[in-house]
Symmetry: C2
């Protein structure tokens, strides 16, 4: 008998009827003799409703004090979910108790609205499990060292679930969501996209960070760091199918070495249109300049993704990077107001109408010519490439947003992702 | 400059527009130099919405485990309110921070859904006030010794506010509500009812417990125990009237001795139709029998109000009492199933179609004939009295529910409550 962590998304928790289905599914696992911990999201729409109320009162919450209150408000969505799910399980005759992040406690840093999990105290959870309960823990939240409620940012419940699974050394963390696994690309854009039976941790990390939206990136990082086996699967399969069928559905994120796995050179095509591009032009090319530009951006808690610095001409260079679109205006104001005068740059420009398209595959490590095939494919479609970055297992390009679907479909075809590799067949 | 606690009800917090009004009112007091603590209720309708969801999943939550989850769910309503109000104050330029019950902490016993406040730790609140913040604390909730969230029952936010005022030794606790004070009776039933400028603590206790619904009874008990001056006033007066006008409106609950106060013999007529009557008939009249009947009822956390034991005939007596209608079925089942066989009573009967009508007045202490005038008035209206209880400052009768309005109006007129006493004019 094992210890399993189930995570259910907002759609799965969207009504009392659906919560009852979740309870029936969890009860099935419990009755099979497993110790069960469940991490549900807020009911769908609830977090947006709460943040909408907050926004009516303060359209731009930017101070730590305001973000502290946003977190206190937003965290209640999951607190409602856990209580309702506990009641639904109890009504099924299965002992269950709920715990908010502060009750476990799930300890985080103090970065309101995007806190990071520091540690999870397992004592109370273990005691509750030992007493025969299904333990239900709020996703998305924790407390900081001063006892303030924090949230982990959008999709943070995935991270909560994986972190709990890591702390408890669970056999597997099952993420029930509205897709039935990880695909070679987004099926809404590429109808021929196929579900992957398994995917390596490194590939998943890239696929998630590049906008596949199946899992929050931090959850994959956590899974990798603590080697938690994570399975992404659908919450829309009937709750009463055999446990064995559930346990083999979806996509398993594995930690096997590449050598042991038979797989295609490229596993998937990812995209992300939630970023914006900022260029700092005419920057004096001297040591420390990158830090002088990006230090203040990091201090403002803005994540920077693709970073490009061109070779310099006449002692000046151009410096470009992408930021989340939500933080675009704040980043631009910061750079124009403080950084540009301080370093003596010629200009700061931005563009929100961009997207990033990436090919991802652990097989790229040992196959040359993959990037070249990507560039040729885009060229044949007449798509101009604005920025390029590469890593061992991915190649990303930033292009005009309007070509996104075209680019994803063309690359999916060029790398023959619509055909199942024979080794997997 | 003083320290004031403001409490706002659900209607006052019913929309972001209204929350902004509350923030403006609080900001006015803060800018006048006062230290401010605010205890808001959940937005109107929110607690019912949350408990409605819970009820869909478990129609009858009766176990401690289920009630624990009800409390965890219901408490989120106030957690949303405090965060939104803090944001509204910050948007007004007034530093403000919110604290949930567990963050203060407000410590209670473990009686889920009807917990009692045991103590309030003032350290964190005082530090936050000293740092210049308006401190906003969730009403209605606390934590028990095991760290579980508890709620104080309907209207519990009044108690929270008074308890906070007591802990901080506030100058006054102002309860902003949808009525502008305490009336001689319910104006919906008696159009001639007048607002009282002040009322003694003892009268208020009776008026509240007898169903005046202006304040939760425990809040009045708390106010009396710690001698917290409490003012009930309307949240519908414009927020920008002078502070002095606000401070003199509403009804002040005072602790002055009767001798110092000029007042009518009877201050008000209260009623309560939230109770049901239970009679245990043919009870062997021996020592300890009242405890044998009411002990199990108390153990089940059911409050008993009016208790009557008639003189015995042939060694047997009848024993009647009232309980909250919500607990009626539970009490009846308990008495029929366990108590009746144990003590050998002849029968247990109940009636939910009753109401209690009371005359309340500190002046009754020194004036005889007040009860007689009450009984004569009801007799003249042809209303049969089923039960009677008296205390120093009130006389209550239990009558058929259908006569309630008639009885209240007739008594209001008989005791000339429609005419302001000359001493108050």
């Amino acid at each position: 008998m094992g210890l399993f962590v189930h995570k259910y998304g907002g759609t799965s928790m969207g009504s009392t009827e659906r919560i009852r289905s979740v309870a029936q599914r969890v009860a099935k696992w419990r009755r099979a003799g497993h110790d069960m911990v469940v991490v549900p999201s807020a009911m769908s729409g609830e977090t947006n409703r709460l943040l909408g109320l907050a926004k009516e009162l303060m359209p731009h919450a930017a101070t730590p004090e305001a973000m502290r209150e946003l977190d206190a408000v937003a965290a209640t969505g999951e607190q409602v979910s856990v209580g309702l799910l506990a009641l639904a399980l109890q009504a099924e005759g299965v002992p269950a108790l709920s715990y908010a992040g502060w009750q476990v406690p799930v300890r985080t840093d103090s970065a309101f609205t995007k806190a990071r999990v520091a540690s999870i105290d397992e004592a109370r959870v273990r005691a509750s499990l030992a007493a025969g309960n299904v333990v239900i823990i709020t996703g998305f939240q924790g407390i900081d060292p001063l006892g303030n409620v924090t949230t982990l940012g959008r999709g943070g419940s995935d991270t909560s679930a994986v972190a709990v699974a890591a702390a408890l050394k669970a056999d597997e963390c099952l993420i029930y969501t509205d897709v039935d696994g990880v695909y070679t690309s987004d099926p809404r854009i590429v109808p021929e996209a196929r579900r992957l039976g398994s995917v390596s941790f490194e590939e998943m990390l890239e696929l998630a960070s590049l906008g596949s939206k199946v899992l929050q990136i931090r959850s994959v990082e956590f899974a990798g760091k603590y080697r938690v086996p994570v399975r992404v699967l659908s919450s829309f399969t009937p709750w009463d199918i055999p446990i064995g069928d559930e346990a083999e559905s979806g996509t398993l994120i594995t930690f096997e070495e590449y050598e042991k796995m038979e797989r295609a050179i490229v596993s998937g095509i990812a995209y992300n249109r939630d970023e914006a591009k900022i260029s700092v032009l005419g920057v004096p090319d001297r040591p420390g300049i990158a830090f002088q530009i990006l230090g203040p951006v990091a201090d403002a808690n803005i994540d920077v993704d693709v970073i490009i610095q061109n070779v310099s001409h006449d002692g000046r260079t151009d410096f470009s990077f992408t930021v989340p679109r939500n933080d675009y205006q704040r980043a631009l104001d910061l750079l124009k107001g403080k950084v540009q005068p301080a370093i003596g740059a010629a200009d700061v420009r931005g563009d929100t109408r961009i997207c990033k398209v990436s090919i991802v595959g652990i097989g790229m490590k040992s196959h040359s010519g993959v990037a070249a095939r990507m560039f040729r494919t885009l060229s044949e479609e007449g798509i101009n490439i604005q920025m390029i970055t590469t890593s061992e297992i991915k190649t990303s390009v930033v292009i005009d947003e309007k070509y996104m679907e075209l680019a994803v479909r063309a690359l999916h075809k060029a790398f023959e992702l619509d055909v199942a590799p024979t080794a997997e067949a």
